[in-house]
């Protein structure tokens, strides 16, 4: 069975280059990714070419890595925010088609340049400011799950596609759909188990990141899940700021997205011009406000729930589950 990368970037088997693998975070995250099943073929740290980390060869640049190992088609970066643009351009120039940028605080100018460069090179990326993505066919990019044992235990194959602009909520929405007998609020106001031991499970978790200029947008992610035969319903965390939710609503309205979507929208009390949670949540005009987005989402037929834990009963309802 194809993973979500097939539908997102036409990649059947990810072969990964890790930027920053010689650093503490890059090394630890690489171990987790490998333990979940992600093939990591090489690392990249300028000036440390020739070394190896846990048996993974390290190169000075993406060009060197791809020249030595042409199978590389993905990159994950664990580099500081200021180094993301250079790493991104290095990787895309080397022909790498899918990338993940975990760093928080990437300058907006750099985000814009990377977006344009990616378009020119035909590359796609997740982030910045993302915990990454996890596919239950057995690969992980980024930090979801914290450690491999936890990731394997909490993210189990199923039919819910998770899309989120928040790292924490992408993980919670994913993990809770994999818990037998999950309790939560029901549409009738009662509280209790939402399903029996047959939990819905997840196809993949895509955290698109909390910054104002994401590579993969809510709509891009929804299009991928639309094509993914495993996915029967999408559980989405959207919020104020950017036009992503409006773009998603427009795609539903035109019939480009037909699978059911349950969405929790954050930012009900956010004030315009104030950074409330994520950098990308800042409201810059009326179309980015909570009220506007909620209206267009509901008009399009998307289920917008009023509290985050109400997502689960609504996905259960779509799937005709019930304890």
């Amino acid at each position: 069975m194809d993973g979500i990368l097939k539908h997102l970037a036409d990649i059947e088997t990810p072969n990964v280059l890790v930027f920053g693998i010689t650093g503490k975070m890059g090394r630890n995250a690489s171990r987790t990714m490998k333990a979940v099943g992600t093939p990591i073929l090489a690392g990249c740290t300028p000036g440390k070419g020739g070394q190896s980390v846990d048996g993974v060869p390290v190169f000075n640049s993406a060009a060197e890595a791809v020249a030595a190992i042409p199978e590389i088609n993905c990159a994950v970066t664990y580099v500081p925010a200021g180094a993301v643009k250079a790493a991104a351009m290095d990787a895309m120039e080397a022909g790498i088609r899918f990338l993940v940028f975990t760093a928080d605080g990437v300058p907006i100018h750099d985000q814009i340049v990377v977006k344009e460069y990616a378009r020119a090179k035909g590359s796609l990326y997740l982030g910045p400011n993302t915990v990454g993505m996890l596919d239950t066919t057995g690969y992980l990019f980024g930090l979801i799950g914290g450690n491999a044992e936890w990731a394997r235990k909490n993210y189990l194959p199923g039919c819910v596609g998770i899309i989120s602009r928040s790292g924490g909520l992408s993980q919670l929405f994913g993990a809770f759909h994999c818990r037998p007998h999950l309790s939560g609020p029901r549409p009738d106001g009662s509280f209790g188990p939402l399903w029996d031991e047959t939990y819905p499970g997840v196809s993949a978790v895509l955290c698109i990141g909390g910054d104002p200029i994401p590579g993969v947008t809510l709509l891009d992610a929804a299009r991928a899940f639309q094509k993914d035969p495993r996915t029967k319903v999408m559980a989405v965390y959207g919020e104020t700021g950017t036009t992503q939710e409006n773009d998603l609503a427009a795609a539903v309205r035109t019939g480009a997205i037909t699978k059911p979507i349950v969405l929790f929208l954050g930012g009900k009390f956010s004030k315009a011009g104030v950074a409330q949670s994520h950098a990308g949540a800042m409201i810059r005009n009326e179309e980015e406000s909570y009220a506007y987005k909620r209206n267009v989402l509901e008009d399009a037929g998307i289920t917008v729930v009023q509290r985050p834990d109400a997502v689960f009963s609504h996905t259960a309802s779509v799937l005709n589950k019930g304890a």
């Binding site: 200021g82 928080d104 340049v113 993980q171 949540a281």
Partner: protein, 495 residues
């Protein structure tokens, strides 16, 4: 975004070769530079973030030297919009026309790549906001910015379009070179010969976008910013002591509404903040004593220090903590930090705790086990309950009287050893562990940093492993051993 005063914005433009009206910056009222430009001149008070300066007498045209001296004195003494950093003196250049030029960022949409937007009006000067209909907007690439040749065609209807295009190229280059979020020149002065000058300008920028070498250009006077509270200063020092992981605490300056429940929060990440805001944003009966974001791979040592700072806030009646550590922080480690903070703080708070993420079950079990020994009431929630469910318990917790207690004794004497990062002092009491076998604090250590020396019957740090500050050694020593290992975590300025 942070505003940059005009005199600093001029330096950025000058570095990119953009022509400026002659000017001099006076640091003090007796600055020798005051004699360099004779009247007529404009005097402009430089105040970070100030608006409508002219209306408040902070921009003045001066015609004669005597008036100039008294105006300089008056303007340095002005405090209308915050402290005056200095005065910018600019020549009253002879102009035949004024333009408006601005650069902003375009964040893009589903159908449009992000980039920059150049804004231009041939009717610049004061009141340009009311003439927005005259504004020409030209999208441009930050990756491949337009050259003067490419820009000329946009202004063919004006006199001297080449000169304008060259000027605009400099503006765009400045905007990109320093990664500004806003750059405005208003007015751009047009002289008889068609040459252009920056008469007045301003910029905004992202603090974290500035290259190290450029930082001196962006140093701004911070005196006008919100004054830090004592707790915020402590948190700043905690972050300096151990930079890894986000440790953000900001006290609420708003007055407490009558009868509102006062809640201190320890929330995790942007999602945690958003959920809290969603849950209580519409309620007047709950007052958030602080904003918080504790995320991104904190050690338990740092979590403990931040929690001690939160517990030292004067206002709150209840602590509400949510962890979401699936990505970064092991929740069992966080629970160890919570337990330590509640037993060592002289002002513990009744607490509502929800752990979510790696080892959340062990975290909840730990808190439930130690609950009876704590001086305050604690309630834990399973991970599947979101903060909205915790809020229902605030009123009950707030009915508990806030108490000041004598916290448990800190270990004394010389520590067995110290760890520099994350910083902590380890104390071992051999009288509490007399067996030759290693105590539980050694066997629990996840990195094998703690070693047992059976000959000395003593705990030692390994040279080939590092401490991650998880607090499991002390936790298990208290729960499974005899309290033989204790950790002292000093908090700067806490005492």
């Amino acid at each position: 975004m942070t505003a940059l005063p005009e005199y600093k914005t001029r330096r950025l433009l000058a570095n990119q070769g953009v022509p400026l009206v002659d000017g001099v910056f006076l640091n003090t009222q007796n600055d020798p530079g005051r004699d360099r430009l004779p009247p007529p001149v404009y005097l402009k008070a430089q105040i970070t973030g100030a608006t409508s300066r002219a209306a408040q007498g902070l921009v003045r045209r001066v015609e004669d030297p005597l008036q100039m001296a008294s105006d300089i004195e008056e303007m340095f003494a002005a405090k209308a919009q915050g402290p005056v950093e200095g005065l910018l003196v600019t020549s009253a250049a002879k102009l035949c026309h004024e333009y408006y030029v601005g650069c902003i960022l375009d964040f893009g949409s589903a159908n449009k790549l992000p980039g920059g937007i150049l804004m231009f009006s041939s009717q610049g000067g004061s009141g340009v906001e009311e003439r927005s209909g005259s504004l020409k907007k030209i999208s441009f690439s930050l990756l491949r910015p337009p050259t003067a040749d490419m820009l000329t065609g946009h202004f063919a209807e004006l006199d001297h379009p080449e000169a304008l295009a060259t000027f605009l190229e400099g503006i765009i280059n400045t905007f990109i070179r320093y990664k500004l979020t806003v750059l405005e020149v208003n007015p751009v002065g047009v002289r008889e010969d068609g040459s252009l000058l920056v008469i007045d300008c301003r910029a905004e920028f992202e603090r974290h976008a500035i290259a190290k070498a450029d930082k001196p250009l962006f140093t701004i006077h911070d005196a006008g910013r919100e004054e830090q509270t004592r707790i915020e200063r402590i948190v700043e020092k905690i972050n300096a002591l151990e930079p890894a992981g986000t440790g953000f605490i900001r006290e609420n300056r708003a007055p407490v509404p009558a009868g509102a429940y006062r809640v201190a929060t320890n929330l995790c990440g942007g999602g945690g903040k958003m959920l809290w805001e969603m849950a209580v944003g519409g309620r007047k009966d709950i007052y958030s004593a602080n904003e918080s974001d504790t995320s991104g791979g904190l050690s338990a040592f740092k979590s403990y220090r931040l929690l001690r700072a939160i517990l030292a806030l004067d206002t709150p009646q209840v602590l509400l903590l949510t962890g979401s550590g699936m990505a970064f922080q092991n929740q069992y480690h966080l629970a160890a930090a919570v337990w330590k903070a509640l037993r060592e703080s002289p002002t513990p708070l009744p607490s509502l705790l929800r752990f979510g993420g790696t080892e959340e079950d062990k975290a909840q079990a730990l808190m439930e086990r130690v609950m009876p020994s704590l001086p305050v009431k604690v309630k834990t929630f399973p991970a599947h309950l979101f903060p909205s469910a915790m809020i229902d318990h605030i009123a009950q917790m707030a009915s508990e009287k806030r108490m000041t207690v004598v916290p448990e004794d800190q270990p004394g004497g010389e520590p067995a050893f110290r760890v520099d990062l994350p910083p902590g002092e380890f104390y071992f009491d051999p009288q509490k562990w007399t067996q030759p076998t290693p105590p539980p604090c050694v066997t629990i250590c996840p990195t094998q940093f703690l070693k047992w020396n059976p000959d000395r019957r003593w705990v030692e740090p390994a040279q080939d492993a590092r401490c991650i500050g998880c607090l499991l050694c002390e936790t298990v020593s208290l729960l499974e051993g005899n309290g033989e290992l204790r950790i002292k975590l000093d908090i700067p300025e806490m005492n």
